[in-house]
């Protein structure tokens, strides 16, 4: 048991008739970055809230840092830090006052508190803003303070619920870098939930895909991707300068093509299966008189894995308007019977 930070056993949460988390069992190793992937409402946040002792499980059990989340809730709290979806910060207080309040709640002695606050502020390059009110900060600045607030008590396990939601690309990159750094330097176990597949792919050692309250796949990102590429899955990006809707439709009818996404006026992303899939697709393009500018062989992403397993796409609200996805064949064909 010593090698695990978190062990859950049939963890279940019901809200009336709705089963938000349905008999979920998994373990997280010490020092691991573990990602929880899934669309909104899949049960990620509810699982995290139960593990953080904020919500009592309806059924099943779990230990966090070696303590039961119900019977040992206060011991669990000593060893965890939480960065939840909503920022835990008071706008009218300064960065320092916010950190001071939580340091006091964790019984950190005054001397150590001052050192710790300065050290953490320096870590996220916010020492200049120590005495400015949080309300005047940008979202990215707020989130940096929010993250270091969760680190005041030097937690063994850090829970991050959608830590980069709504941040600009620069802050997103910084927060990701910071997460990696904490994990590498302090061996802090990190539980991360996200609906951004790329984020999970970049950060996580292992990923659990959760849908409708159940874990439908759990492995390293590489293994998950191999799971679909192992069946000769080909993911390519075609750049056709004279691309038309008709051409895309005919391409979609090619029996090798499993899914087709129009990326822009000229670019298409194609998922295909079959020994001669690549040749067959090129032939179709040629036969339609398409002028092929370039072909990129794309690695399958976790997004492709999720699509493959659930038959649905995890949509980022913002990007869903831009993307236009077309599935080949009836949706029922892509069932999740290949999940082992």
């Amino acid at each position: 048991m010593d090698e695990y930070s978190i062990v859950t056993d049939s963890l279940t949460k019901r809200f009336g008739d709705l089963v938000a988390v349905d008999h979920v069992s998994f373990s997280v190793k010490k020092g691991e970055i573990f990602g929880f992937l899934g669309p909104n409402g899949a049960g990620k946040t509810t699982t995290i809230r139960m593990l953080c002792t904020l919500s009592r499980p309806s059924d099943g059990s779990a230990t966090v840092a070696g303590f039961d989340i119900v019977k040992g809730d206060n011991q669990v709290r000593e060893h965890i830090g939480l960065v939840s979806e909503k920022m835990i910060m008071y706008d009218r207080l300064t960065a320092y006052e916010n950190l001071k309040l939580f340091a006091k709640l964790y019984n950190i002695p005054k001397q150590k508190m001052e050192e710790k606050i300065d050290e953490l502020l320096k870590l996220v390059h916010m020492e200049k803003w120590k005495d400015a009110q949080i309300g005047t900060f940008s979202t990215g600045m707020k989130q940096r303070i929010n993250v270091i607030r969760a680190l005041l008590n030097e937690p063994k396990i850090l829970f991050l619920d959608e830590p980069t939601l709504g941040l600009d690309p620069q802050s997103t990159a910084e927060i990701r870098e910071f997460i990696r750094k904490i994990n590498a330097e302090n061996h802090t176990t990190i539980i991360l939930t996200t609906h951004m597949m790329a984020e999970a792919d970049l950060l996580c050692n292992r990923v659990g895909i959760i849908d409708h309250g159940k874990i439908v796949a759990l492995d390293t990102p590489q293994a998950l991707k191999k799971m679909i590429s192992g069946e000769d899955m080909l993911v390519i990006e075609l750049d056709i300068s004279n691309l038309t809707n008709g051409m895309a439709e005919i391409l979609q009818k090619n029996e090798c093509v499993k899914a087709l996404t129009r990326l822009s006026d000229t670019r298409l992303k194609v998922q295909a299966v079959g020994a001669n899939a690549f040749g067959s697709i090129l032939d179709t393009v040629k036969s339609q008189g398409g002028i092929l500018q370039s072909v990129k062989n794309l690695q399958p992403t976790l997004e492709d894995v999720f699509l493959h397993i659930t038959g649905r796409e995890v949509r980022d609200e913002a990007s869903s308007k831009v993307k236009e996805t077309r599935h080949h064949g009836p949706p029922g064909m892509r069932s999740n019977n290949r999940v082992r």
Partner: protein, 393 residues
């Protein structure tokens, strides 16, 4: 986790709440303006007593054919010129007065009957009819009282003159002959208490109640809505520290408002405190204590800030009106009086009134103190476990 740590955590949570509060300029201004508004409102809209009408437009119709009706009118004008209660105009008769009242020109009228002189000369009483605008009961009552008083006074004057002239009783003894008794009011305190003196202690109790009952659920539900409450819940502190911290912060705010009212009442409205000021604060503190449990209970029941405020309002209004803040409880119907006997505000108001107006000591308000303590303890005993349960949903 020890008692000391629980207190320590709650003090820091209180520190945070008060710091947030002092950073909100609007909030600070409102803390002063709200009680000031309340005081000015009740201080000026409620009438002092029946005798304060001034320049009320009153029409007089003299239907009498004899000379005594004219005498009466002249006398009335003379008395009125001294009191200044009415502005007298003339009218043709009852019908004219009625229509003038309908038009809103006058508040009431006096009619001297046709046979006024004849009746008086024949040894009968002369009849004066009074008509008032009954659509405004308060005003109507005041006008009636003023008219009756004026006319009675004139009657006494006439009677005294009669006794002196007809029976030869010396002028300085005539008053004792027609009014053998006189009443002197011995008060407990030097001056007559104004309505304001009556209402100021009630408002203090009410504002303390309001700031706690609205402040506490707001403080907790707001943090629940914005997600910051999770930060405290995920820290290794007792749930009790969170409630305690919030209660401490809201109590300080409520007491501050109570103090502001007290100062305003003394400086602006001439209220005098006859009792011990420390005792006044002790009662305010007890009042806060008696509402705390109720406030926590409502917080536990409501999932959102909106629900909390609505529940608050529903409970607060009856308390405000049944707690004896504005109207004496004795004037209410029987079953309302019964309800008011179960409201802590009733006891807070009563205790504050006894101490502030009458200068009573602690032993005279034991009933009030015990009730507030009991009410507070019972509700806390129910509310704290409910709150803990609600936090673990």
């Amino acid at each position: 986790m020890g008692f000391k740590q629980t207190i320590n955590h709650s003090v820091w949570i209180c520190w945070k709440d008060l710091l947030e509060f002092t950073r909100s300029k609007m909030g600070l201004i409102m803390v002063i303006i709200m009680p000031l508004f309340m005081m000015i409102m009740v201080g000026f809209i409620f009438p002092d007593s029946a005798a304060t009408i001034e320049d009320a437009p009153i029409a007089v119709a003299n239907l009498d054919s004899g000379p005594l009706g004219g005498n009466f009118t002249a006398n009335l004008e003379y008395v009125n010129s001294e009191t200044g209660m009415m502005t007298l105009t003339s009218a043709d008769g009852m019908e004219d007065i009625r229509s003038q009242i309908y038009e809103g020109k006058i508040d009431g009228g006096i009619v001297i009957s046709e046979n006024f002189t004849a009746d008086l000369l024949a040894g009968r009483q002369g009849t004066i009819a009074i008509m008032t605008d009954q659509s405004n009961p308060q005003m109507s009552m005041q006008v009636q009282a003023a008219l009756s008083m004026t006319i009675t006074q004139m009657g006494s004057g006439a009677a005294m003159a009669n006794l002196n002239q007809t029976y030869g009783i010396p002028a300085n003894e005539t008053l004792a002959a027609i009014k053998p008794y006189t009443v002197e009011v011995e008060s407990l305190i030097p001056n007559d208490p104004s309505y304001f003196q009556f209402v100021a202690p009630g408002i203090m109790a009410m504002v303390v109640m309001m700031s706690l009952m609205t402040g506490l659920p707001h403080a907790i539900s707001y943090e629940k809505d914005t997600g910051t409450l999770d930060g405290m819940l995920v820290a290794p502190i007792r749930r009790l520290s969170i409630i305690l911290g919030k209660v401490l912060a809201q109590t300080s705010r409520g007491m501050l408002q109570g103090l502001i009212i007290l100062v305003l009442a003394i400086l602006l409205f001439g209220v005098t405190i006859y009792g011990n000021v420390l005792l006044v604060f002790f009662i305010m503190f007890l009042a806060v204590f008696s509402f705390v449990g109720l406030g926590i209970l409502i917080t536990s029941f409501s999932d959102k800030e909106e629900t909390a405020s609505m529940m608050m309002m529903t409970l607060m209004f009856p308390m405000m009106f049944l707690g004896g803040v504005f109207f004496p409880i004795e004037q209410m119907p029987g079953f309302m009086q019964t309800i008011s006997q179960f409201l802590p505000l009733t006891y807070a108001t009563s205790a504050l009134r006894k101490v502030m107006i009458l200068g009573a000591g602690i032993d005279s308000i034991m009933t009030e103190i015990l009730f507030m303590l009991a009410f507070g303890l019972i509700f806390l005993a129910v509310a704290v476990p409910m709150f803990k349960r609600a936090m673990n949903r």
